[in-house]
């Protein structure tokens, strides 16, 4: 079967000594940094990816993917041990995971999280391998009109589905699109919004935006809140879950995987929503729902499986269509672009080593996570006690070096400070930064495709509605918009 030949080819790529080493390094670094309190996966990736810029494309993306799920996994460790989620995706794990830790069952909670994640990761990886080529083949038929509508759908969905205000989310998308306009216009060769600054002619660098928005702004926002301190310092003993634990966790993990895999491909939802949804589902299905919130193992297994499955399947739209479904995937897409690879259906054909190598390395990475993390739990517990006052200056230094090294130009570092200030403002005003990043990444592509579509249709805007695939995306966009926005606009205001 073709699938097996492809997977075998992928494993051949991933098992080269070099790629295996980078996969390992990514997973280890991602977990190491992701487990640090107050440092989520986004900050971790934003900080580390200028480093991967200096590697060849295949190892770079393999390492980044490793960093991504390593950091995600690190987030669940902090949820269970410190009641402090690295990001929203593991927020649900806190509820029961932390209770388990307080009851002296931190070991089984961590092991369950690891095993559930591994199972979900395997399924997710297999799904990418199965669905990728099919979607890619279908997407090869896409013209400029289809791509424009698809991007519009992804942008609107990411804006209205993130937590917080839908209208502000849409405004953030547009702001991101405008930031993406900065620089030379490919069609006319005209420099736009460059204010005569030579460095701006190439546009604002991807690392600058990502690091400023997610690392710098995040740090300043964190500095305001007191250091969260109820660190679980007891020794983690008895790592292995009992046979009963395993039996209780098996079905929730399987259901979580299904829910997560479904949500992962949808733009704007991703791991966070899927873990909430599956937790609610388990609570509904449970014979005794009151156990939830008091250390129910299902409450750890299901959301952990869901967020890891979603984290894997989120790669599907990014790799096959070139459309990121979340801020993390936008970072991945940005990394690919920096490597000179245009993600999309051609990648599978032009760069099979990248596509299949990445898929195989995802599986290896998930495996490494289990092997690496369970024995190292003691080390992670130690890391949790590292005070934030040591961490944030280090993050800033690494971000600076990373940003400088991309172009060897101090201007990028200055610009990063400016974007950081803007990002902090936006965080304080409760505007989600993720839609901005998506808009920024997709902006140039959207403009190019819009222009091409309208040129081909001789300026007739109905082209987006007369081509069936494009029409379907447009209808979906309108539906998403109506479902998500209309209730919030029409709902009576809560008394302030």
């Amino acid at each position: 079967m073709e699938l097996f030949t492809n997977l075998a080819y992928g494993f051949g790529v991933a098992f080269s000594l070099q790629n295996l080493a980078y996969c390992f390094a990514g997973v280890a670094l991602g977990t190491l940094i992701g487990v640090l309190p107050g440092v989520g996966p986004l900050v971790t990736i934003a900080m580390l990816f200028p480093i991967t810029f200096h590697l060849p494309a295949v190892p770079a993306i393999i390492m980044l993917a490793g960093i991504f799920y390593g950091a995600q996994y690190g987030g669940s460790t902090t949820s269970i041990l410190v009641n402090l989620p690295g990001e929203t995706a593991s927020a649900v794990t806190c509820i029961d995971g932390y209770q388990m830790a307080r009851q002296g069952r931190a070991g089984p909670a961590l092991a369950t999280a690891a095993l559930a994640s591994f199972f979900a990761g395997c399924v997710g990886t297999l799904l990418i391998a199965l669905a990728g080529p099919t979607i890619g083949e279908w997407a090869l038929k896409f013209g400029a009109a289809e791509y424009s509508s698809l991007m519009l759908m992804a942008l609107v969905a990411s804006a209205v589905m993130t937590q917080g205000d839908a209208v502000k989310g849409l405004a953030m998308v547009v702001l991101g699109l405008i930031i993406g306009v900065i620089g030379i216009d490919v069609n006319s060769g005209m420099a736009r919004y460059s204010f005569g600054v030579p460095e701006l002619i190439d546009g604002i660098g991807f690392t600058v935006v990502a690091v400023g928005l997610f690392a710098v702004a995040e740090i300043v926002a964190n500095l305001e809140s007191r250091e969260p301190r109820e660190v679980y310092t007891g020794k983690v003993t008895g790592l292995m879950p009992t046979a009963r634990d395993l039996r209780d966790a098996a079905w929730p993990a399987a259901r979580g995987t299904v829910v997560g895999a479904g949500f992962g491909v949808l733009p704007g939802t991703g791991p966070a929503l899927s873990s909430f949804a599956t937790y609610m589902l388990e609570k509904k299905l449970a014979r005794d729902p009151s156990r939830f919130g008091r250390g129910a193992i299902e409450g750890v297994a299901a959301p952990e499986a869901a967020n890891n499955a979603a984290a894997q399947t989120a790669f599907i739209p990014m790799l096959t269509l070139g459309i990121p479904a979340s801020a993390t995937m936008a970072l991945m897409l940005g990394a690919l672009t920096l490597q000179g690879i245009a993600a999309g259906p051609q990648v599978m054909v032009d760069k099979p080593d990248l596509f299949w190598g990445l898929i195989a390395s995802m599986w290896i990475g998930n495996f490494l996570l289990v092997v690496l993390n369970l024995p190292l739990v003691g080390l992670w517990v130690k890391l949790l006690t590292v005070p934030y006052r040591w961490l944030f200056p280090s993050i800033i230094v690494f971000c600076c070096i990373g940003n400088y090294s991309v172009n060897n130009n101090p201007f990028d570092v200055y610009l990063c400070a400016a974007i950081g200030v803007l990002g902090y403002l936006l965080v304080k005003l409760e505007c989600e930064p993720a839609p901005l990043l998506l808009g920024y990444v997709l902006g140039p592509l959207l403009e190019e495709n819009l222009r091409r579509a309208l040129l081909l249709s001789r300026g007739d805007p109905t082209v987006f509605l007369t081509r069936p695939i494009s029409l379907a995306f447009m209808i979906a966009t309108v539906l998403i918009f109506i479902i998500m926005v209309v209730p919030t606009v029409r709902a009576p205001r809560r008394p302030a």
Partner: protein
């Protein structure tokens, strides 16, 4: 009662969007618009600026109605010191070298935190310098001198 707009969350957000949108439209005025069939470089940014402006007005108006305030305080000091530490890194790297840049950035950034313990921060600066020298200069072979301009 006159509403307090200074800390009105959505009013400020809306204002920010509206101003950026208006600026985007104004600046794109110099770029040829073209037609819908053959869009010039000004078409897309003008449209975006106008949309952002309208979203901004909507958010602004809603802010006046709901009068929700910004949560917590503005961390002006933390923000200023963090931004300064980053600016100093860019300024010092090609003038003084990587180690001085790292030391100064670490010191200034650490001052943005709640607690500043000089001994700890100095030790951190040393650790970061040694680590960066090992990883970036020897490992990744980035061409920056450890000390001295280039």
């Amino acid at each position: 009662m006159k509403p307090d707009l200074r800390n009105n969350r959505d009013f400020i957000a809306g204002l920010l969007f509206a101003v950026i949108g208006a600026l985007a439209v104004a600046l794109a005025h110099d770029y040829p618009m073209g037609t819908t069939m053959r869009m010039g470089p000004g078409y897309f940014p003008t449209a975006l600026g106008a949309i952002l402006f309208l979203f901004g007005l909507y958010v602004l108006a809603r802010g006046i109605r709901s009068a929700e305030r910004v949560k917590g305080t503005w961390g002006a000091r933390a923000l200023a010191l963090t931004a300064l530490s980053i600016l100093l890194f860019g300024f010092l790297l090609d003038r003084a070298g990587m180690v001085p840049a790292i030391v100064v950035t670490t010191l200034v950034a650490a001052a943005a935190g709640r607690e500043f313990r000089l001994k700890e921060v100095l030790l951190l600066a040393v650790v970061l310098s040694v680590f960066s020298a090992a990883v970036f200069s020897y490992g990744l072979k980035l061409p920056y001198p450890l000390v001295g301009g280039y």
